[in-house]
Amino acid sequence: MTALTVVAYNVLFGDAILVCIPEREGRKTVMRHVLVDVGNVLAGPGSGSGVFRSVIEDIERRLDKQPIDLYVMTHEHMDHVQGLLRARTDGVRLPPIDYAWLTASAGKDYYERFPEAARKRSLHLAAYNRVKRIALQRNLLGAAAVSSFLKNNDPRKTDDCVSFLRSLARRKTSYVHRKFKPVAGTNFSFREAKFSVWAPEHDTSSYYGRRRPVMRKSRGLKAPAGVDPAAFEALVEFSHTGLGDEMLAIDRAANNTSVVFLIEWRGWRLLFTGDAELKSWKTMEQKKQLQPVHFIKVGHHASHNGTPDEDLLEQILPRKRPDSRPRSALVSTCKDTYNGVPDEGTLSRLERRVDTLYRTHDVPPGKPVEISFEEMK
């Protein structure tokens, strides 16, 4: 086989991507495999753990008794991390994995080494708990998007999955960031394909946004004596707003720690972006990482904030193409899980820059979309 194949599964709202890479070893060609994430959300139309069994079985078939050479966990969200643990709990035998790359902040001692990130993380967890209490108080837990958001960001559930993923690799688990150097035989097994990590930064503290706390509603809160009641009402009303923004800020922090990596193989350049959002894209630009690619796994399930603005996108998918190779993009998403995801405007922007836009939801749940990259002379 002379084609690199990206196999993206419809796992509803989540990611599960297998990359099959032929590599020359002497006169022989061997197939090596990278598995990127496996997971989906825990509530709403994008949820359903039943898909993982068929996904793992399909992966097993494609591996043809070989191990997964590299497993990449892009970031700590349930729609990216829960699938393998869930499948094993359901009695599915997982294929062996040689090497694993987990995002840097998933390291056990990470927050001991990065105190500012630890400080922000603790604020972030407090914000999560506060948002959960307010959602309960406002009777929002029944709303699919709120429930999905809360479960997807649940730190305890995520920790269980990450803890499991840390111990998956037979050879070595590495915690990767922009300065991480892949070395064949040390932290991955590829000889011909070149891997480079564009994000995240090792110190993740800059990925945490600044949000004012949203106030829970208190009964009997009245303007104190001497205070203009109308002004007080305006203040209290303002303090109750911003719940959606705070939820997205919590979500964004983990998304921005996504491992963004490039695979270069026989002239093809394939970019896997996890759920990196604008802050991460801007940092990648500042660090001069951005360069043209032929394939992009569209970030954050094609939400409006997972794909960079036009000036940055131009650096990745320039209108004036540097070569004649076809370009494609892959969207791994499920409608009606979150408001406005996938974002039609984002899809149109991408369609203007690529030849083919693949969507996982064009195939039935558990089934894959295959994208081939033939060797070109």
């Binding site: 106030m215 203009d228 922007r349």
Partner: protein, 599 residues
């Protein structure tokens, strides 16, 4: 028996914290608290609260109000002046109020102790600083009028400890100033409400919004930088009024040198700035920053960033302050007001600071008062300052010359293209007269045909402000007493006209044109004589920097309302509307501060 209603306390003595606690230990100031006496005919109540400002100690984390600071029924430091029961927390425990009549002892540096979240002193101190800032701008030497807020109602609410966040902001819709706090990586808690600079800066935003409300919705970074620059200048000049900081024990003189270099007076929000990783402070008004993109690297600013560009304006006005401070003895009007006794002692220095500070703030705020509505550049503000100053201080050409030269040296192009306008108009004092005025002068004012025009006409006074304050003690009324300075003879009318202007939009995906607000100011004597005409000019640089600023703030945004997971629209502050290919922007000021992550 008829119950007697409690006596209204019409004045209070308020201790205010004048230096960031962490920074205070590094300085040699006499005290880090300062007494201020504020009066208002409607009185003061628990909270603290008064007609213009009320402290609302609302905890956003718990949704509960903390107990208000109560007035102390027994405390009468001066006749008819009350006090709040707010002992100052010191390392040895709560200190009794340090001021009694004839005693102005403060709290020594290093004495200040741990401040708990429900400490009444913080409420009182924030209240005092907000009122002090308001008093500074309203005083006869600066604007000489009571400044209304930009929102309905008379009262600005102040939340001194809103929650855990490294931020503080003025928010028009909730009629409030909100101060947040947080822990540093070393575990120390930084309260933005304990920083005099931050409280004064945010209060200045509310004041500026009351004077020039159009700037809040402006879309050019220079318009927003006017807000920031004047707010920093106000905070910096307020800190110079603190004699506890300007005078070291045993030192009877205050040297000009202290203002010639970056100092604790010129550095804005030192503790907060360090916490946020901005070096020694958030910004420094003692600077040589320039708008000139070809200027020296270390002098250049990012013209698309309101906070960065603001340093040009604050630096320019601080330079004017320094010159005024240096040449106060040459001003006979100021010098002859001081007695021989005062001139010989260190009080003279306090008069000198007050003289230079009032003159500079007056120059700035009168310019702001006269600034045409809409998007304005530093050049527009400079021209407005020059025009107002010419009317208020016709004999002091030296200050105007310096302002003009300093602006030019900082890359602000102050061109004197005279506007062709009639010399006599009919003052439009009724809706019908406004329509007539507009029909007559629309063309001369270059208002595009079909543009809706909003006109306001306000009575204003042009008078000779006091060169130095009557005393250097800080005692002021929330309604400035202007009887000495204004009369029917000083009456004039300030006519402001605002409309929408269009320019080409180069932001991909956001239409082909965009609108921004602009306008004119006409100052007219009661007999209809036109004294001044000012227009906001949209320079090419403004268009370019507006594009760069909008590109930044619109990053990741869409025209359609964005809905959060909770099903409600996301709070973006900035509102972008696209109608028939034309983009219009509102709420940039709010987005810059409340949404926070833009800069």
């Amino acid at each position: 028996m008829k119950r007697r209603s409690p006596k209204i306390v019409k004045g209070v003595l308020i201790p205010v914290l004048i230096q960031d606690p962490a920074v205070a230990v590094e300085t040699e100031a006499r005290s880090i608290t300062h007494p201020v006496v504020v009066k208002d005919s409607k009185g003061f109540s628990a909270g603290p609260a008064c007609r213009r400002v009320a402290i609302v100690d609302l905890d956003f984390h718990t949704g509960k109000l903390r107990a208000p600071a109560e007035l102390d029924p027994k405390a009468r430091p001066y006749p008819n002046i009350g006090m709040y029961r707010a002992p100052i927390p010191t390392k040895k425990g709560a200190a009794s109020m340090p001021w009694t009549r004839n005693s102005e002892r403060g709290i020594d540096v290093g004495q200040l102790g741990f401040m708990t979240l429900d400490d009444p002193f913080m409420k009182v101190s924030v209240f005092g600083t907000v009122l002090r800032t308001l008093g500074l701008v309203q005083n006869p030497a600066v604007l000489g009028r009571e400044i209304p807020w930009a929102f309905p109602g008379e009262q600005l609410l102040v939340v001194p400890r809103a929650g855990d966040l490294d931020n503080a902001f003025y928010h028009r819709d909730s009629r409030s100033l909100q101060f947040y706090y947080g822990a540093t990586s070393s575990g120390q808690t930084v309260y933005s409400g304990l920083s005099q600079d931050i409280v004064a800066h945010e209060t200045a935003h509310a004041i500026i919004d009351g004077i020039a409300p159009n700037l809040y919705d402006a879309s050019s970074p220079e318009s927003l930088a006017i807000h920031e620059g004047l707010a920093d200048l106000t905070a910096g000049l307020l800190s110079m009024r603190n004699r506890e900081l300007t005078h070291k024990p045993g030192d009877r003189r205050m040297d000009l040198k202290i203002f010639q270099q970056s100092s604790r007076f010129s550095r804005i929000a030192e503790e907060f700035g360090r916490w946020r990783g901005h070096g020694t402070s958030l910004r420094d008004i003692c600077n040589t920053k320039t708008m000139d993109p070809k200027g020296r690297q270390d002098r250049r600013v990012d013209s698309s960033s309101p906070h960065s560009a603001s340093e040009v304006l604050s630096g320019l006005l601080f330079q004017v302050f320094r010159s005024l401070f240096a040449r106060m003895p040459d001003d006979p009007a100021a010098w002859r007001k001081m007695s021989k006794q005062e001139a010989s002692n260190f009080e003279a220095m306090r008069y000198r600071v007050a003289y230079a500070s009032d003159r500079t703030l007056g120059l700035a705020y009168r310019g702001l008062d006269w600034l045409p509505p809409g998007d304005a550049s530093f050049a527009d503000l400079t021209l407005a300052m020059l025009a107002a100053d010419q009317e208020f201080f016709p004999r002091d050409a030296r200050t105007r010359k310096q302002l003009r030269e300093e602006a030019t040296s900082r890359g602000i192009s102050v061109s004197d293209s005279t506007s062709r306008f009639v010399s006599q108009v009919e003052v439009p004092l009724s809706p019908a007269a406004e329509q007539k005025f507009l029909a007559q002068h629309r063309e001369a004012l270059e208002i595009p045909s079909g543009a809706d025009v909003r006109m306001t006409v306000r009575l204003t006074h042009i008078y000779e402000p006091p060169p130095i304050p009557r005393t250097t003690s800080e005692s002021f009324d929330l309604t400035p007493d202007m009887k000495r300075w204004v009369s029917a003879k000083t009456e004039n009318y300030l006519i402001k006209l605002a409309w929408e202007q269009h320019e080409t939009n180069d932001l991909e995906g956001w239409g082909t044109a965009r609108s921004y607000r602009t306008g004119s100011t006409i100052v007219v004597a009661p007999d209809g004589r036109v004294r001044t005409v000012l227009h906001n000019r949209n320079a090419a640089l403004s268009t370019r920097s507006r594009s760069r600023f909008l590109r930044r703030v619109l990053s990741g945004q869409r025209v359609t309302p964005m809905i959060g997971p909770d099903g409600t629209p996301l709070e973006r502050g900035l509102r972008a509307e696209l109608r028939e290919g034309t983009l219009s922007i509102t709420g940039a000021m709010q987005a810059l501060h409340v949404a926070a992550d833009i800069e």
